[in-house]
Amino acid sequence: MSTQVTITFKRSFLVVLFIIIAIQLYAFSLPIQSSGKVDKSVMVMYLKDSIPVNIDLLYSKDTVPEYYYAYVETPVCEEGLCYDLKVHLYWNVLGDFVKYEEVKSDPFTKFDHKLFSKEDHLKLIEILNDKTSPLANYEAKDLIDKTDTIFSLIVDAVTGATSPALKNSVVSGAVYSTHILWNIVNGKIADSIKTYTEANLINSGLLETMIYSNDYHLQMYGLRHLDASNKNYPEYVLRLVEFGKSYVPYFAIDKITADMWNTLRIQKHMIASLEVFNFEMQNETLNRLQNVKLISGNTTKLLNQLKFLNTSQYNQLTKIIKYNASSLSKSDKGYLLKLSKDESNSFASFATNILSYTK
């Protein structure tokens, strides 16, 4: 009899324990599947000088540092209505905001205990990504327009509307939550993360990962720390010329040295890329090929890229071809002759000009 009771007790205890653990895991689970190594608590930062925040370093599958992670719990009051803000936060290795995850059982709430809508979340993400937000330089209470009050439908509390000039800088109805989140994400923690990375993690492997990433800031950092003596220098530079985000390609093309422009590999790559480059990168390429001796066959290749260029670019192209007129093949000259006779082609006069130079 007693054995049966014990077994039942043990089983039910195990079941309860299992349920408790399941609840814990469900409520507090790490949403990003950490497929790699985790260095726990590489840093401890303090919110409001008293609440400790442990920051972990997450590695990618290839054991390259990838994200910093912290779980933060902090009380927030939206004008008298208080709740515990709980959030999982992720930064990249330079301290830029990557993402947040709410705790499913305790999502963010606004004034009047309203939940964040999908638009609110999108707005919040936009704000957290903005390092130049005025939230850095205003206290949360200063964002409220004290002359314009909103009354709660639920509890005996009021809040103010956000000042019109700063309305766009917060999620409406969640001024304090937005403010505190922004400052946690972009404040001291972000600075400390960058400092930690630069002091402990920067190596050729991490720089390569940054260069091959899809993030503008990481790419620029990698590019800025590239040494021309690095054996992979040409490969890295070409990678960013082609896959750089936003302005990265313009900085990258600037890193192609004069010697590199004189090599077959670079000339071939850049000339071929005229097909996929945007207008400005085409111009950058054409400008830098001025007074460059093109190696075997590249003159022909360049001439064949004519179809991807604009009339306003013909002048620059012509100057390069003329400089390399001696390496024009017979069929190149035939092609130019054909073009020069085609009155409907806007390149005709330029073709004539080049041909006169070859005689």
Binding site: T132, P134, A136, N137, Y138, D142, D145, S163, P164, A165, L166, S246, Y247, Y250, F251, I253, D254, F279, E280, M281, Q282, N283, E284, L286, N287, N310, S312, Q313, Q316
Partner: protein, 647 residues
């Protein structure tokens, strides 16, 4: 000297061994020659030019000397002159306006940037309205002449152009005199005055006089400012040179000078080239050097940058639409943003700007964002050229930031006032500088009339209030200050009108507020002109004696109004007279001898109208509005009535 007096007497002008003011006496003051007069009192013309000494001294003795005739100095001089002071305004250029003149062509920016209702009023408004109406051709040089005209039309102002300040005599912490040199006329001018205003921008007068000043960027720890740098340094915002270009009907190729800098697409990652007719504020250098003493090199570097940028526009291929464009004007004077900040009893900080501290001694307001430029400028094209923190509302500037903490008779206005580097990033713009000039000019006149030092004025509450009321009367905008002038007889009147609107009741003309202050009320009388002429009248139970009436009209202060070489800047503006302004009106008094018309005005376009006349005893006055500048409503913010002392 006798001969000179005789000469002056011949022309029927007041005599005196020293120049006292006014343009005619100015012209004559500069003639240092011993004039040969014959027995008939005629000048022997041939002997006129014989005894010319080069760099002979000319002395002036005035009430107020303003050094620098940028927007601050111009407004300071006019304000002091209109308040009865004899003013000497010294400027080291031929053209007036400083950074706003045709020599530099920077925009006059200010609180309009808030996009609310806060365009600056007072003397500046008078200047920009005059330009908008008289210069439809948008010629910058004609704007210079609007300024020139305003200054020489003030009898109390002696204008010394092309005269560079270079020395000062200080005795017992008080400036006794200053010296300026004019090479074109080969003279040295020595000016003695009771008060001096440093409107040089660089605080040159203050520095030479031994006034305390600040320079560079303050540390966070100095004033507790979140936007300050961690460690204090000597860096500042840089200078800019602007240009203008025109479109032609054929290709205009461009070859830069060999010393021009070279730029590629990466240099414009954070710097937008949106149009070609006007240069770019981010064409900036100098923050990392001494913007004053390294000025010659800075100018050259800026020109090298400017031509490099234009070379990029014309020849990089990225701007094919610029093909027919060509440079038409290039500045030679770098427009400065920041150098010295003279120390006053109060130093304004970032917190004062953002929290809009309501100082008891507030005399002006700002509204431009906290707009700081990193010192690298075009030497650091990888960095953003500015960081701008928008403001929620305008903020006040205290009188205690406008006079020296250690030199007793030195005041200042413009970008060189008593502010932190961060606060300067907002106060430095020229509309704000202009109203600071008006505050300082009025303060000096007040101090002279009431025989008190600038410091005493700051400490006496009653005088401070009277000074603020005087500023308000002269249309200076001051946040949260109402008309409480006991001398304003209109405040005791009852008001009637031909008609009024719901939002624009006639009584509002004496409600103490003369503009829209975004409190939901219009603060103006409004009457529909659809039914023809409208009138508004003031009535007193007991007859009053008056000799001066002042009207404040509506000039659309919710809009921008400023000159620009750039087309898009005019998009939100109305060029010319502002439609809300009353154009044609008459003022009629009911005197004991019957009705008397003391003003019959057509095509008014100014905000403030002042009508002075022979003293009359009246019980009623009527203002008849015949026409507006376009608006369907007649609008009138304020009427004031005074019995003023005869000058």
């Amino acid at each position: 000297m006798n001969k000179r007096r005789g000469f002056l007497k011949t022309l029927g002008l007041s005599t005196g061994a020293v120049a006292m003011g006014g343009h005619f006496t100015t012209l004559l003051a500069n003639s240092n020659n011993e004039l040969s007069i014959d027995e008939n009192g005629n000048v022997n013309a041939g002997e006129f030019l014989i005894n010319t000494d080069i760099y002979k001294q000319v002395k002036y003795d005035v009430d107020v000397c303003v050094v620098g005739a940028g927007m601050s100095g111009i407004c300071a001089a006019i304000a002091a002159a209109r308040n009865g002071s004899k003013v000497l305004l010294m400027h080291d250029r031929s053209r007036l306006g400083g950074n706003a003149s045709s020599e530099i062509r920077m925009h006059i920016s200010g609180a309009s940037q808030l996009k609310q209702v806060w365009r600056e009023t007072g003397i500046l408004e008078e200047l920009v309205l005059t330009e908008a109406v008289t210069n439809p051709q948008r010629s910058y040089e004609m704007w210079d002449f609007v300024l020139y005209d305003k200054l020489i039309s003030e009898p109390n102002i002696t204008l010394l152009l092309d005269t560079s300040f270079y020395d000062v005599k200080v005795n017992n912490d008080t400036i006794e005199k200053v010296w300026g040199l004019c090479s074109q006329t080969e003279e040295i001018s020595e000016i003695s005055a009771k008060y001096f205003s440093d409107c040089t921008g660089d605080g040159s007068l203050a520095a030479k006089a031994g006034a305390k000043y600040m320079r560079g960027r303050d540390a966070k720890s100095t004033f507790g400012e979140s936007l300050a740098v961690d460690v204090a340094d000597q860096k500042t915002m840089g200078n800019s040179i602007l240009f203008m270009a025109q479109k032609h009907d054929k290709k205009m190729p461009y070859t830069p000078p060999v010393w021009a800098r070279k730029y590629t697409t990466k240099d414009f990652a954070h710097r937008n080239i949106g149009s070609y007719e006007y240069g770019y504020w981010w064409l900036e250098l100098g923050g990392s050097i001494d913007v004053i003493s390294d000025g010659q090199q800075n100018r050259h570097d800026l020109l090298a940058t400017l031509f490099g940028v234009w070379d990029y526009v014309k020849n990089s291929g990225n701007h094919p639409e610029s093909e027919n464009w060509a440079l038409s004007w290039v500045g030679m004077i770098p427009g400065k943003r920041e150098s010295r900040r003279i120390e006053g009893p109060y130093i304004m900080t970032q917190q004062d700007v953002q929290a809009a501290t309501l100082f008891e001694d507030r005399v002006a307001y700002g509204g431009w964002p906290l707009d700081d430029h990193p010192p690298g400028g075009m030497d650091a094209t990888g960095d953003v050229p500015y960081v701008s923190i928008a403001l929620k509302q305008p903020y006040s500037i205290p009188y205690r930031s406008l006079f020296s903490v250690n030199i007793k008779n030195l005041l200042f206005a413009g970008r060189n006032i008593s502010v932190s580097h961060v606060a300067l990033s907002s106060t430095r713009v020229m509309a704000t500088c202009s109203i600071l000039g008006q505050a300082v000019g009025t303060a000096m006149a007040y101090c002279i009339r009431h025989n008190m030092s600038p410091n005493t004025l700051a400490l006496q509450t009653e005088d401070l209030k009277r000074y603020q009321q005087l500023l308000l009367k002269q249309d200076q905008g001051i946040l949260g200050v109402k008309n409480e002038d006991d001398d304003d007889l209109a405040r005791q009147a009852t008001i009637k009108s031909s008609s009024e609107t719901q939002k624009g009741k006639a009584i509002y003309i004496i409600d103490g507020i003369n503009r829209d202050i975004a409190d939901g009320k219009t603060h103006q009388w409004q009457a529909s002109m659809d039914n023809g002429e409208q009138w508004i009248s003031l009535h007193w139970k007991k007859a009053i004696k008056i000799n001066s009436i002042q009207l404040t009209f509506d000039t659309g202060l919710n809009r921008f109004l400023r000159m620009s070489p750039q087309d898009w800047v005019y998009k939100d503006q109305v060029r010319g007279a502002q439609p809300e302004t009353i154009a044609d009106y008459t003022i009629e008094l009911e005197t004991t001898q019957g009705k008397k018309v003391i003003a019959e005005i057509e095509n008014n376009y100014l905000r403030l109208a002042k009508h002075d006349f022979k003293t009359q005893s009246i019980k009623t006055l009527k203002i008849k509005v015949k026409k507006t500048q376009g608006d369907k409503l007649a609008r009138l913010f304020e009427v004031r009535c005074y019995l003023e002392e005869q000058a």
